[in-house]
């Protein structure tokens, strides 16, 4: 039968859409989240302008990595559950609640799912927060978190360049540069960089096109 890519491809040969670089950073007053825009089926790019930053609630987002089908289904389910919960409470939901809902689902069905999710947002009680829910269903809060197949290449960059107490602009620059480096090295990541700032004021989204990405020296 006709297949995408060669069987001995160096990429993770998968006929299920996968592949990504995602990142989230806390700052005083909110969070900055970012993602690349590539979805691959084997060696073919099924969508080169994917939006992996999915709103779960007004001021809570999730960054999706792993199987596109699994993460879309989980995000839809959690959006419903969180919306219902918020209406019952008559209050804005906590980011921790959203992260817990993700964790519940990702842990309970860990054998069936391939989903690595970063939950980030702002709530009135604890301000900007980033929670990471990697494959397997662990949940932990981190000031900065990276995920997806491209994250392996930028742990060093992130660990050495992150400083506590960065401003919003510094966080945006930090995220854009980290994701650019990941996209440069990871075949399953690429396209454009999508950024979003979630704070008390709301959500500001931006796109950095391929030719506008920060340039690093190429040897």
């Amino acid at each position: 039968s006709l297949q995408f890519g060669t069987p001995r491809s160096v990429f993770i040969t998968s006929l299920i859409p996968v592949g990504t670089s995602i990142m989230a950073v806390e700052f005083e007053g909110g969070v900055v989240i970012g993602a690349d825009s590539r979805t691959t089926t084997g060696a073919y790019i099924a969508n080169r302008v994917t939006d992996k930053l999915t709103p779960i609630h007004e001021r809570i987002f999730c960054c999706r990595s792993g199987s596109a089908a699994d993460t879309q289904a989980i995000a839809d389910a959690v959006t419903y559950q969180l919306g219902f919960h918020s209406i019952e409470l008559d209050e804005a939901p906590l980011v921790q609640t959203a992260a817990s809902l993700f964790r519940e689902m990702c842990y309970r069905y860990r054998e069936e799912l391939m989903a690595g999710i970063i939950v980030a947002g702002w709530d009135p009680r604890r301000g900007g927060q980033v929670y990471t829910v990697p494959v397997g269903g662990m949940m932990t809060r981190q000031p900065v978190s990276v995920g997806g197949s491209g994250s392996s290449y930028i742990y060093g960059y992130v660990d050495s360049n992150y400083r506590a107490g960065m401003s919003k602009e510094e966080c945006l620059k930090f995220t854009a540069e980290a994701l650019t480096l990941a996209m440069e090295r990871d075949g399953s990541s690429g396209g454009v960089v999508r950024l979003a700032v979630v704070s008390e004021q709301g959500v500001e989204r931006q796109v950095i096109l391929g030719n506008q990405l920060p340039k690093f020296s190429t040897v």
Binding site: L2, P17, D76
Partner: protein, 276 residues
């Protein structure tokens, strides 16, 4: 294992499909037969959003392995008066899935009293395909026009969807996407959009072995649908220029022996069927 299949997602289908199919396959092989090959549609399907709506396109070849099973099958399926869906993958799966969602959407539309939205059809399709964990091999291009304008979705067998201005699916999707990436512009006119989709499907037909025959188009605008089948007969069968028939008398007859078979009618009974 049984223990792994708990909860709504894992339990129902993965167990049932996996174990049932394995049992059937084992039994059939023991008896000496081979399980029938699923008829796939090979296929090039695509869709484009233009100024006034969407244009969906498809080839018309259905393959069973390396043999063409149907030279003129219809791959653009009706979902609702304003929504149509092209299907690639296993022919039975695309046919039945689109019919099920079409039926449910009609009931939903009667319940809401409104024309159905493309995003509703998308959600119904993705939730069903995800529930079956990819065992329903239906890769779809869903397009239509509703109260919020024209919309186009690509839906994968495992249940992920992408909302885009132009999409291609099937074995010929790479050839078709090459044409789109070269010539797509936002807000095209209808004629240009139809030409673009026609050329994209043609690229699939002539460069992919799994796609062939004619090009079907479906132009959906607000309040009107043009189902153009066929839009372009790109592979009309040629006319034979000569004939191999020999005239009577070409072969000389040496001897002739006629033996009549004596058959007598023993009993004749006519039973009319009530076809009212």
């Amino acid at each position: 294992t049984e223990e792994q299949c708990w909860g709504t997602w894992g339990k129902n289908i993965k167990c049932v499909c996996f174990y049932r199919n394995a049992l059937l396959e084992a039994d059939i092989n023991k008896l000496g037969f081979s399980s029938p090959a699923a008829r796939k549609t090979g296929t090039t399907i695509c869709g484009v959003v233009y100024k006034d709506g969407v244009v969906l396109g498809a080839d018309t070849r259905a393959t069973e392995g390396m043999v063409v099973a149907d030279k003129n099958c219809s791959k653009i399926h009706y979902i609702s008066p304003n929504i149509y869906c092209c299907g690639a993958g296993t022919a039975a799966d695309t046919e039945m899935t689109t019919q099920i969602i079409s039926s449910n959407l009609e009931l939903h539309s009667l319940s809401t009293g409104r024309l159905p939205r493309v995003t509703t059809a998308n959600r119904m399709l993705k939730q069903m395909l995800f529930r079956y964990q990819g065992y329903i091999g239906a890769a779809l291009v869903l397009g239509g026009v509703d109260c919020n304008g024209p919309h186009l979705y690509s839906i994968y067998p495992h249940g992920s969807t992408d909302k885009l201005p132009y999409v291609t699916m099937g074995s010929g999707s790479l050839a078709a996407m090459a044409v789109f990436e070269d010539r797509y512009r936002p807000n095209m006119e209808e004629e240009e959009a139809k030409r673009l989709v026609r050329d994209a499907i043609a690229a699939g037909i002539f460069n992919d072995l799994g796609s062939g025959s004619n090009i079907d188009l479906c132009v959906i605008t607000k309040g009107k649908v043009d189902y153009l089948r066929p839009h372009d007969m790109a592979n009309k069968k040629g006319v034979r220029t000569g004939s191999y028939r020999y005239k009577h008398g070409t072969t000389g007859v040496l001897t002739k022996a006629v033996t009549p078979l004596n058959l007598e009618v023993v009993e004749e009974s006519v039973q009319t069927m009530d076809t009212s």
